[in-house]
């Protein structure tokens, strides 16, 4: 189970990356317009993305925001 941040928000970005052709963090960062450090912070639940970023990430994985992010 991926870690959750202080607000109980967790995501499945790491799993989805591997399921989509073992996408690297760098590639995901380039496709979503952020730095690799931000992707690292997202996957370790140390940063909560803005809505536009959440939607961009979901679009990369051809998923909905609710499939990428969940809240406890």
């Amino acid at each position: 189970m991926p870690p959750a941040n202080d607000n109980g928000l967790r995501n499945h970005i790491r799993r989805l990356r591997f399921e989509h052709g073992e996408m690297t963090q760098q590639e995901l960062a380039e496709r979503t317009g952020v730095t690799r450090q931000t992707i690292i912070a997202l996957e370790s639940a140390k940063y909560a993305p803005s809505l536009p970023l959440a939607f961009r990430i979901a679009r990369v994985f051809h998923s909905t925001v609710e499939e990428v992010f969940e809240i406890e």
Binding site: N5, E30, G33, T35, R36, T38, Y47
Partner: protein, 154 residues
Amino acid sequence: MHPQQKAAWFVLIVFAVTVVLYLVTVPAMSLFLGKPWTSMATPAMGIFGLCGLWGFARFFYSPSKNREPVMDERDQLLAARAWRTGMATFWLVFVFGCVGSWGFMRYVRGLDRISVPVELFPGMTLAGFIIATITQAIAVLHYYGWRGRNASGQ
């Protein structure tokens, strides 16, 4: 390491070098001019003009070779948070300096009718800005992680 981290380290290194040079300049001036070092402490503070080199920190923010943005939303959030921390520190230093200097003259030196010397204010402003910038740099490094690995955003 993110450009913001590099800029923060640059600020801290320049300040450290400035402080070292100041501590060297005071006795050097005292020796060269044949005056007591306590009287050289204030003139030697011109060394802190080296802090103007901080302006060159902007060159760390050049576009990266890969397609990553220089400052994404998380970097802007951390920059804003560090700036707020720095400005809060500046305000504390400035207000403490204003009130403290008045209180020192009134209650320590026992002067009844006093006015704070106007030449203190530029010095307080400069000192406050230096402290604010140092605090901001430390805050940036704290938020990113001191070694640039596994950077956290909250």
